[in-house]
């Protein structure tokens, strides 16, 4: 009888199990989808399309061989972001169209101000979806770079970038009070650099 070892007390096993359960409950997040949000233009044709100056349009074309042409010149994917930033932030307008927050080169042959600047993305029917998404991603990134910059300089007290603030705003856990405080600030930025990204129908590319 001396060799018999005492039984291990398993009474606390349930506690340990619950501890683990609660740990996993808190730490796991259910996977949510994410992606690039876009808004399609409505179907009805505009009867009187506004006249847009050539210098206010930044044309990006992805052809069927997945080559990227920016303003009719070939460009590598990694250079698109900086080219789009340069175009949007140019601020070449004078008088009423001047842009006092732009830090661009104020080139007369580029965009007047970010509100007028339009990025036009065209693609061929043969273009690969993943290349198209990469280009979209870079163009959205250009807007985010500028919005981030202005957000930090306008609201340094928030201690976050525009993208972070936007994420915080759309997080359902954020309190309504904070949301109400954040919304006007986000709207200001969206007005300063409106996302004017047009996706032309490929049929018009003939």
């Amino acid at each position: 009888m001396a060799r018999k070892s005492p039984e291990v007390n398993a009474g606390s096993m349930a506690d340990i199990a619950f501890l683990l359960l609660i740990f996993f409950l808190v730490t796991t997040t259910i996977e949510t989808d994410s992606g690039i949000n876009r808004k399609l233009p409505p179907m009805e044709d505009v009867i009187d399309p506004p006249i847009i100056k050539e210098r206010n349009i930044f044309t990006v074309v992805v052809n069927k061989n997945n080559d990227i042409l920016v303003e009719e010149k070939p460009m590598e994917l990694r250079d698109i972001r900086s080219a789009a930033v340069k175009f949007l932030d140019n601020g070449g307008g004078v008088g009423e169209e001047a842009c006092d927050y732009c830090k661009g080169e104020r080139d007369k042959s580029s965009s007047d101000n970010p509100e007028k600047a339009i990025i036009s993305l065209k693609n061929d029917r043969e273009t690969d979806y993943k290349v198209y998404i990469s280009v979209q991603n870079e163009l959205v990134a250009a807007y985010n770079v500028l919005r981030d910059r202005e957000f930090i300089s306008l609201y340094p007290n928030e201690r976050m970038t525009f993208v972070e603030a936007n994420k915080f705003y759309s997080d359902p856990r954020t309190s309504p009070k904070l949301k109400a405080k954040l919304k006007p600030k986000l709207d200001v930025l969206k007005r300063m650099y409106p996302q004017k990204l047009s996706e032309a129908e490929p049929s018009k590319l003939k």
Binding site: S5, E31, T32, G35, I36, L40, D128
Partner: protein
């Protein structure tokens, strides 16, 4: 009988299994929480392209999904290897998209019907022609909010 008794003395005591239910329940709860329910069985290859300038698609009740890509291996014989659209659980053609969106919209609560987003889950290898056709159909039924659903990652992964 003394022989038999002696043998029993040398045995280890049985392992207490009283906590086994706890462990099993814990595992059960863990998987219940961590699993994502998939409503649709995928019939197309669906390697989403990577992007990093993304916004979350919260609130699943406001999203309509459209899948597209090359048919999966087991469907290649029957449907060929050209990219196809999958709506719910079946392959569809472009002209079905409008009716599908309207039908899905009708199943949602009335206050949500105007705020629905269409999530395009398209394989990276698909041609833009198909996507443009889908977009045209979406415009026809006035489903203008779309989301190009992507993986989160750098664009250089798309090569």
């Amino acid at each position: 009988m003394s022989k038999f008794k002696k043998k029993k003395d040398g045995e280890q005591p049985a392992i207490n299994t009283a906590s086994l239910p706890d462990i099993v329940f814990m595992l059960l709860f863990f998987f219940m929480v961590a699993t994502v329910m998939r409503d649709n069985t995928l019939m197309v290859t669906n390697t989403l392209p990577a992007a990093d300038q993304v916004q979350k698609l919260d609130k699943k009740d406001r999203v309509i999904y459209i899948y597209a890509g090359k048919p999966s291996e087991r469907y290649v014989k029957k449907y060929g290897d050209q990219p196809k659209i999958q709506l719910n659980d079946k392959f569809s053609v472009v002209s079905d998209v409008g009716a599908y969106i309207l039908a899905e919209r009708a199943t949602k609560r009335e206050e949500l019907q105007n705020v629905l987003t269409t999530s395009l889950k398209v394989d990276g290898e698909t041609n833009m022609g198909l996507i443009s056709d889908i977009k045209q159909e979406l415009r026809k039924v006035n489903a203008l909010k779309i989301n190009y659903t992507t993986r989160i990652g750098d664009y250089t992964q798309n090569k």
